[in-house]
């Protein structure tokens, strides 16, 4: 096992990694920008090194500085955390070239999943379902009908040269497909002077559901169930829950087996997440995140597995000591991402936190680097705390979440807590009846 790990990140995730190391008896090195000298994880780490000025490109994205810090502190592994360099294949290779271990998958797998086209192709080859469609252009009404039958309705007919919805038609059945095809072509012609069109399955109100994976690259691969992350605004997740209110046990087991088999075939090592669009019982591959995710704690809450600990163990070359049969799902968990921003205008709200008091009690976990007197820098993203609540049932979890949000005190900056409080009171959310478009409508007052 490693003696010393350098944490190449900041904020709550750096603290999360520090905690896992501490609990494994591994020393920690915090690297930080001048703006983060007073950060919680810097205060708690065994060692800390200032690697540059506030801008990320000069500090948290500054590969030479991070590698130098690792060298002078004698770290034998680097955990990249989330964002920043966590999905940078070059960084992963350089860490290895410097004789240290990159706590994550192989550079090859990072590259594959980092390229949308290659990733989709790879997923398909591994038997992971992707959005079905025509292979390139569709050149006749007959072909359109045949493609539609193969792809399944509703289908979207899109101008190859298209954009902005023009030259885009939806056909809901056999009767509509040929007209839709002709209309799309003529519109495409008129709009872009090019009537080439292609087709793919049309998803009207999908959910964002992702499966958490853990693999050791030695044949060991398990999944920790799914997370429902459909509640997004501008592609930013605001609240996640596990398990998804939309899946039943059979669907869960089926998709879980599918992706774990795929990861075993790929020889993937480390934690990873495969994101899907889900509609009417079908999953469609979006992308794979070859790193830890912000919302990983809700999977920990329902399985009891410490994901960062396992990630470190497999990076050290140990085989997974968990099999799928060891994983059972208990209760329900929800994470609220608490941002330093105005809950109505979403304007970032950095500054001095004059008072801070986290909620406690049964089933409540808080991951946050905040403390009274801490000044939130304006340079980085606005995530300042994660509130993770677990309950025996989804309803108990919701009641507990309401209670915990009431107790949460963050004074000095605006936070998204009032928005979370509104959100968990919304009937659609309480019913678990939402898709990836719902939150945008909700904040716009259209639900």
């Amino acid at each position: 096992m490693f003696d010393k790990i350098l944490i190449a990140n900041r904020g709550e995730i750096a603290l999360r990694i520090h905690r896992a190391c501490r609990e494994m008896g591994i020393q920690t090195v915090a690297v930080h920008s001048t703006a983060d000298a007073d950060a919680m994880h810097v205060r708690l780490a065994d060692e800390s090194v200032c690697i540059g000025p506030a801008p990320s490109r000069d500090s948290y994205l500054n590969i030479p500085a991070i590698l130098s810090a690792a060298t002078i502190t004698g770290a034998d592994a680097i955990h990249p955390g989330v964002g920043f360099l966590s999905e940078n294949a070059d960084f992963a290779s350089m860490v290895e070239e410097h004789g240290m271990v990159f706590i994550g998958p192989s550079p090859e797998h990072i590259s594959i999943m980092g390229d949308k086209v290659v990733a989709k192709k790879t997923a398909q080859d591994l038997g992971i379902p992707v959005v079905p469609g025509s292979d390139g252009a569709v050149t006749s009404a007959e072909e359109a009908r045949a493609t539609a039958d193969a792809v399944g309705y509703p289908v979207l007919i899109k101008a190859s040269a298209g954009g902005g919805g023009r030259g885009m038609k939806v056909a809901n059945n056999n009767a509509e497909v040929e007209d839709a095809y002709r209309l799309a072509r003529s519109e495409a012609k008129a709009a872009f002077g090019n009537d080439e069109v292609y087709m793919e399955r049309y998803l009207s109100r999908p959910r964002h559901i992702e499966v958490q994976l853990l693999a050791d690259g030695q044949g060991g691969a398990i999944h920790l169930g799914e997370r429902d992350c459909s509640l997004q605004r501008r592609h930013q997740k605001l609240l996640e829950e596990a398990l998804s209110p939309a899946l039943n046990a059979a669907e869960r087991e089926a998709i879980g087996k599918r992706v774990t088999d795929a990861m075993r075939d790929l020889g993937y090592r480390s934690a990873g997440t495969i994101e899907f669009l889900y509609e009417d019982g079908e999953f469609f591959f979006i992308e794979m995140n070859t790193r830890l995710q912000v919302e990983h704690p809700i999977s920990e809450a329902i399985t009891g597995v410490d994901l960062v600990r396992e990630q470190i163990r497999v990076a050290a070359g140990l085989p997974l000591d968990l099999e799928q049969s060891d994983i059972s799902f208990s209760g329900h968990a929800i994470e609220c991402r608490i941002n330093a921003e105005n809950p109505e205008t979403f304007m970032p709200s950095p500054g001095l936190v004059t008072d801070y008091h986290a909620p406690g009690g049964l089933g409540v976990r808080v991951d946050s680097g905040l403390y009274a007197g801490y000044r939130i820098p304006s340079t980085y993203d606005s995530l300042i705390a994660k509130l993770i609540v677990h309950g025996q049932t989804r309803n108990e979890c919701l009641m507990r979440l309401r209670r915990a949000l009431e107790e949460f005190v963050i004074v000095g900056v605006d936070t998204s807590i009032p928005l979370h409080q509104r959100l968990i009171g919304a009937q659609d959310f309480i019913n678990g009846d939402y898709d990836i478009h719902w939150l945008e409508k909700f904040v716009a007052g259209q639900t």
């Binding site: 007073d38 919680m40 205060r43 060692e47 800390s48 000025p53 002078i72 004059t354 007197g373």
Partner: protein, 148 residues
């Protein structure tokens, strides 16, 4: 927002009152007007676990909380690495206290990622102080020497 203008006089007055009375906070509200002045941050910062001694002692330069502690005329480390006072092991130091240096003259070498980076003097002057020892690891912003 035009109508929202701050009564600077009032703020100053309350600030003086804080001084005079030794208070940390005054909050005052009349109808829909409310003002609050405080002088406090310091005391609450300890609400986080005390910093553990870093491998490289936190230099004021790396802690924006106390920049004034960097000596005037100090040259700080532009990168993380290991600092050397000579161009090669055993050679004479590039500079010593009392030396007059010209702008651009190499003062120290900082090794980062197996690359030796010469540190050029930002200006002409005299070496008043050298704060580092040969082969010492330095973090970004750490004061190395003082030129006057």
């Amino acid at each position: 927002m035009a109508k929202f203008d701050v009564n600077e006089e009032l703020v100053r007055k309350l600030a003086d009152l804080l001084e005079e009375t030794g208070l940390n906070e005054i909050e005052y509200e009349v109808d829909n007007h409310r003002i609050r002045v405080a002088k406090s941050a310091g005391i609450t910062t300890v609400a986080a676990p005390a910093a553990v001694a870093p491998c490289i002692p936190h230099t004021p330069a790396s802690a924006p909380g106390a920049p004034e502690a960097v000596p005037a005329g100090a040259v700080t480390a532009p990168m993380v690495g290991t600092v050397y006072v000579a161009s090669e092991p055993g050679a004479a130091p590039l500079v010593k206290v009392g030396d007059a240096v010209t702008e651009g003259q190499v003062l120290l070498i900082i090794e980062a990622m197996k690359v030796m980076n010469p540190l050029a003097s930002p200006r002409a002057g005299t070496i008043k102080q050298i704060m580092i020892t040969d082969g010492q690891p330095v973090e970004y912003g750490e004061p190395l020497l003082v030129i006057e």
